[in-house]
């Protein structure tokens, strides 16, 4: 897969809510093909305490205008700093990195469960699944209403459900408490999940119990993001694998998860 490392120009930084932003950048060259689940390593310069690049899922790509975008939640030094960047500034990006979600057969029913910034890869996935004639349900979880982002976009590709811990939107509780999981035979052939570890494990457990194929996209502390350092491993049935290279997307049966 062709990768690029290039300075990109910041086109826009938009804050739909106070702790998350969508950043759009223009590539100086043609953007190589990006698959759903691929991520980029972004260099956050001029920050005395951010030394390494940071990995972020690619939210969307506009190939024609050479624009790539990310949905980023502020959780620490680097994500804060990047949110302060201004239009016209340059940012170095390496992408596309990692593997991608595998596609089900056309017509299959798909559930996508996302939490927090873990929903980022699902815009591209949703679009492709729609083209692939899959019946898609999105289930988005958060603490409260303001954490449930991108629903308008997702609704272009399928039904959108949600849960919030405070009940301010959708059903009250965690995603796994949602009534969609209450039926005896879950009406899905495939589940995808990305978000906090605990959420993915809970979703994984349900998938296993219901014998539904399930893929998750793992988060991880990465030093390089392209397979060189062996810092980002996860235990699999075939031993330690690099999350940035063999992942970030894994079938839960391949992972050594105690669920």
């Amino acid at each position: 897969m062709a990768k690029i490392i290039k300075d990109h120009e910041v086109i826009e930084v938009r804050f739909p809510v106070s702790d998350s932003y969508i950043i759009s950048l223009r590539s100086p060259v043609e953007i190589p093909a990006v698959l759903p689940g691929n991520f980029a390593e972004i260099q956050i310069e001029n920050s005395s305490d951010v030394f390494l690049r940071r990995p972020f899922s690619i939210l969307d790509v506009d190939y024609e205008n050479r624009i790539i975008s990310f949905l980023i939640k502020i959780i620490g030094k680097g994500t804060k700093k990047l949110g302060e960047i201004r239009r016209g500034d340059k940012v170095s990006l390496i992408y596309p990195l990692g593997n991608s979600f595998s596609l089900p057969e056309p017509g299959k029913r798909v559930l996508i469960v996302g939490g927090g910034s873990g929903i980022a890869p699902f815009v591209q996935l949703g679009r492709i699944l729609k083209v692939n004639s899959n019946d898609v349900t999105f289930l988005i979880g958060g603490k409260s209403k303001k954490d449930i982002l991108l629903t308008a976009l997702f609704s272009e590709f399928g039904e959108v459900l949600s849960t919030t811990e405070d009940g301010s939107m959708g059903e009250k509780g965690f995603v796994t408490d949602h009534s969609v999981f209450k039926s005896e035979n879950l009406p899905f052939d495939r589940i995808y999940s990305c978000g906090p570890d605990a959420m993915m494990k809970a979703v994984g457990r349900i998938s296993k119990q219901n014998e539904i194929d399930c893929e998750v996209s793992l988060e991880n502390m990465m030093a390089c993001g392209f397979g060189a350092c062996l810092c980002c491993i996860t235990e699999t049935v075939e031993g330690n694998k690099r999350v940035c290279k063999e992942g970030p997307v894994f079938n839960i049966n391949y992972l050594k998860w105690e669920i």
Binding site: A2, K3, I5, Q43, S48, D49, V50, F51, L52, R53, S92, I94, N220, M221, M222, A223, C224, G225, F226, G227, A228, C229, L230, C231, C232, I233, T234, E235, G239, N240, K245
Partner: protein
Amino acid sequence: MGDLRINISGLEFKNPVTTASGTFGNGEEFDDFFDLNLLGGMFVKGMTLEPREGNDYPRMAETASGMLNAVGLQNKGVDHFIDNIYPRIKHLDTHIIPNINGSTVEDYIEVAEKLNEIDSIPALELNISCPNVKAGGMLFGTSCPSAIAVTKAVREVYNKMLIVKLSPNVTDITEIAKGVEGAGADSVSLINTLLGIAVDAEKRKSVLSTVTGGLSGPAIKPVALRMVWQVYNAVKIPIFGIGGIMNATDAIEFMLAGASAIQVGTANFIDPQVSVKIINGIEDYLERHHFNSANELIGAMEG
């Protein structure tokens, strides 16, 4: 145009820029970013006799101008390297130098013997300084008698260029350098990582699964330069300088302090093309300062 070629103990490197073991995979990951044939050499990820899974996650912590790693020599063993990896990269027109590790002297010997068989591998780097493994590793490198013992043992079975990689976690690195020189090393490379820890104050836990890890990056450059300079003044064998090299200026600093060539480590993670930039930068420097050859830089620092 300045001549970038450097001759180290009889082996010619097309330029003084090589990549450090453990930070460059087997080179393949960098194929996407530049033409590997431009490199002076490539030190591949540390290998052991038997496959190893390495340490548990988390293995990495970011620190001020640096990082800690506790990878712990995850590798599929020397046989896998010889049978599977090497055939895929041996076409490269750059020196491919394995970095070898063991828990016992016997391990080191066996790995060295196997690699000695492979004609097109011109050199070996003996890692006696890995801080991230329980047995062996750094222990060999922090005691002079054991550093000498393992060097001697490998020297007996390995008849090409033998580079010994030194640990910085010692009171007097010159003593160890002199020891391995006497034991038959053709060259030394330094430094490996400094032993450090990172603490997560919120969770009141160490960040790394192993508690301690190896510190690399610009944070360690002053220490690395000091050790290269000390060793340069203590031994006659050539030195590979390593530690926090991020650009051509850093590389030149190491050569001025006494290194014949350098290894780029952590910088590869931030800019996978950095080695080429360093090669070009050294070339510029030679031109700007009217040097004919990169050799003139070695140890040229005034006190």
